[in-house]
């Protein structure tokens, strides 16, 4: 029993799950402001469990590719041999049940959103659909699963409905995330190529992928800023994040060293995360009636602290440690 629970906890992969949770909270903040409720707890559990389904199904489908890519850390129990395919199937079923059970208190709309999450989790990796093998569709499906559905769940938690102001913000978030997710295959390209898995990176090449990512990141950021119309200091903080992202993506384009590539992607992702935090701070504090100067101050402090970590990695990439790679 303990081993099964441990495996379930392992498959949640907290960092990625928290990224999904961020979009959930942004959806909530856009509609209800700082509402902390039991529904938020249920939604958090549901999102985390549905993500465990996604990782379990994907690990089973791509075990040979993961092994070829040398992904033998603790977060890949199937690739390391610490767990069997049957164990992961059991984990996927258990996590699916947990996700549905946690969505019940959210009502019918919550069940619909989590149902869609689970459906996407399965069709993305498992046959016959196996959308992960369709290089044009895969990043779009992941964007829907990571951004749109959690954002929608945030609206459900807020007990609200889609409104016109959601469209520009969600489009901006999706485009920004698309810029990030098309780079995920850089780490795995050797295994992908050897197993004939088509990805945008392998089809279009690194230069084109980086160019698309830069354009998408900038377009997404501009759309987000237009959608939430933050105070000028927050726009400046977001602009700094954008500069950091573009800087790292340009470095990625010219870097040939595999570790250097991963550090550039991870460092750009850090700037992207801080950008999302700035957006969330702006939404939360404006909903709570905080003065624009106060919201700006909080964002400035968070940006300053994050900048230390970002510059530490950007200026000394040789010191960085790459997570999820043995």
């Amino acid at each position: 029993m303990n081993a099964r629970l441990r495996l379930l906890g392992l498959m949640v992969r907290p960092r990625a799950a928290i990224t999904m949770w961020t979009f959930l909270v942004i959806g909530l903040a856009r509609h209800a402001g700082p509402t902390i409720s039991a529904d938020l707890c249920w939604a958090t559990i549901a999102v985390a469990a549905s993500y465990a389904v996604a990782t379990s199904v994907n690990d089973i489908a791509d075990v040979e590719i993961d092994r070829a890519n040398g992904l033998r850390d603790a977060t890949r129990p199937l690739a390391t041999g610490a767990a069997s395919a049957a164990d992961l199937r059991c984990t996927a079923v258990t996590a699916g049940v947990v996700a549905v059970a946690a969505a019940i208190p959210l009502g019918a709309r919550g069940l619909v959103v989590i149902g869609l999450c689970l459906a996407v989790d399965v069709v993305y990796s498992a046959t016959p659909a196996r959308l992960s093998r369709r290089w044009t569709i895969a990043p779009i499906v992941l964007t829907v699963a990571y951004v749109s559905l959690p954002y929608w769940l945030g609206i459900v938690v807020a007990h609200d409905h889609w409104r016109p102001f959601d469209a520009p913000l969600l489009v901006g978030l999706c485009v920004l995330f698309f810029a990030r997710i098309i780079l995920k295959d850089v780490r795995d390209r050797l295994g992908d190529a050897s197993h004939g898995k088509p990805t945008l990176l392998l089809r279009l090449g690194k230069d084109a992928t980086c160019a698309i990512s830069i354009v998408a990141a900038l377009a997404g950021i501009v759309t987000i800023v237009v959608a939430i119309r933050p105070p000028v200091p927050i726009v400046a903080a977001i602009a700094l994040d954008a500069i950091g992202i573009v800087w790292m993506l340009l470095r990625l384009r010219v870097t040939a060293d595999p570790k250097g590539e991963l550090v550039a992607i991870g460092t750009a992702a850090r700037a992207g995360n801080v950008l999302l935090i700035a957006v969330l701070t702006c939404l939360l504090l404006s909903a709570q009636g905080a003065a624009r100067a106060q919201a700006s101050l909080v964002v400035a402090v968070v940006t300053a602290v994050a900048a230390v970590g970002f510059l530490n990695l950007a200026l000394r990439p040789e010191r960085a440690r790459v997570a999820y790679k043995a």
Partner: protein
């Protein structure tokens, strides 16, 4: 807040190589500083403000004054973090803070006091209240206890400067975060995500 201070300082000092005993003693020292900072200091300011009104500098409104003070305090915190991070690094033997760092801190403090004195008497009033009367005794006792505990913590350790620098930096950032949290409780979400986004400092997640 004391509990948060204990955990943060003890963990920071321990991660910097101090023994548990030294880490806990150091945490006690920081708590004494916290008592002085958040208890005695504000009390002194409050009592002084009952007799002498702190005027608004340059006709700035009350809300604007808050922002000005916040920016000034923020700059001081950044300066302190910079000094701690750059100058308190453990150099070769003899281990410990060097004289330049102490002078830099003293210079920053005096410069801040003088610059603030140009636009408002608030800073000098505060210093006056904090150095006279009952509050001054309380402050002196608190700081004496803090100094004693810090000294006891590092009586025999060789990682003094590193542990002290780590603990100071974490606590400085933590105080700022707590101050924001006390005003807007909902910011726990933001700080939770900020910690996840920035920690650990040297790890990146490429996928």
């Amino acid at each position: 807040m004391s509990l948060v201070a204990i955990v943060t300082v003890a963990a920071a000092a321990r991660s910097a190589g101090a023994s548990w005993r030294a880490a806990i003693a150091l945490a006690g020292g920081f708590i004494a500083i916290a008592v002085a900072k958040f208890g005695i200091g504000p009390t002194a300011l409050f009592q002084g403000n009952q007799t002498d009104v702190i005027q608004n500098a340059g006709g700035v409104s009350s809300g604007g004054m808050v922002v000005v003070i916040a920016i000034a305090v923020g700059c001081l915190y950044l300066a302190a973090i910079w000094v701690l991070a750059v100058l308190f690094r453990p150099a070769g033997p003899p281990d410990g803070p060097n004289g330049n760092a102490a002078l830099a801190l003293l210079g920053i403090g005096l410069a801040a006091l003088l610059l603030t004195g140009i636009v408002t008497t608030a800073a000098s009033q505060y210093v006056t209240w904090a150095t006279t009367g009952l509050e001054a005794t309380g402050l002196a006792v608190a700081l004496f206890v803090a100094a004693g505990l810090v000294a006891a913590a590092f009586h025999e350790t060789s990682v003094r400067a590193k542990a002290l620098g780590h603990a100071s930096m974490y606590m400085t950032v933590l105080w700022v975060a707590i101050a924001f949290l006390l005003v807007f409780q909902v910011l726990w979400i933001v700080f939770l995500l900020a910690i996840v986004a920035t920690w650990p400092f040297r790890s990146v997640t490429p996928k």
